[in-house]
Symmetry: C2
Subunit: 119 residues, 2 copies
């Protein structure tokens, strides 16, 4: 899964990772603090792995502070992802309208062309 957009969506396709991002939306945090809410369900290396996925997708950065790693959000790839969706959402909403028109047209056309019953 080479391309950036796929990596971004892939990273967002996991509830733990989205929750980690939600935590980070509150502001920068180190890994222990970030992990606390999840350690009932997951081991700490699991969190490390999730954070690595987020980092490799470019969604967070880690900075060193003694033995702590402080994580923070990188906004740009999310803007790209959101734009991708929105761009098509516009088209799709249009296409829904067109579909409606199309179906209306077809009913008319088919009745004209083949003398089909109006069911």
């Amino acid at each position: 899964m080479r391309d950036h957009l796929s990596q971004t969506f892939q990273a967002l396709a996991d509830p733990t990772r989205r929750a980690l991002l939600a935590e980070l939306a509150q502001g920068e945090a180190n890994i222990s603090d970030l992990s606390k809410p999840f350690l009932k369900k997951l081991s700490q290396p699991a969190i490390t792995k999730h954070l690595k996925v987020l980092e490799q997708a470019g969604l967070i950065r880690k900075t060193k502070d003694a033995q702590w790693r402080n994580c923070s959000i990188k906004v740009e790839p999310l803007q790209v992802a959101s734009s991708w969706i929105d761009q098509y959402r516009e088209l799709w909403e249009q296409s829904l309208d067109r579909l409606g028109d199309y179906l209306d047209d077809m009913q008319t056309v088919e009745r004209k062309a083949k003398g089909k019953k109006d069911e």
Copy 2:
């Protein structure tokens, strides 16, 4: 990957599936027509599978017309996904500002508290 949002992002995390959605943004299409641009790279069952992923994620619907399956977009889950990103994007943009403030503060505080050199 039980939850809807994860399924949506997972479905979007593949360039072939995004391309299929882009095709469908032009309007409804049957599977053969949809598949044509991809058959140089992928087999037909591969497309069938991708379409099934999109369908199970609720991103498209299929309707029967004789031996053809007409696919079309369902907008709602995309709105949900886009909203999720946008909601946090706002927070994140704030958090970037806060990070800037925080770093400025810390420089001051640390210099005050520990008499560290200004490097």
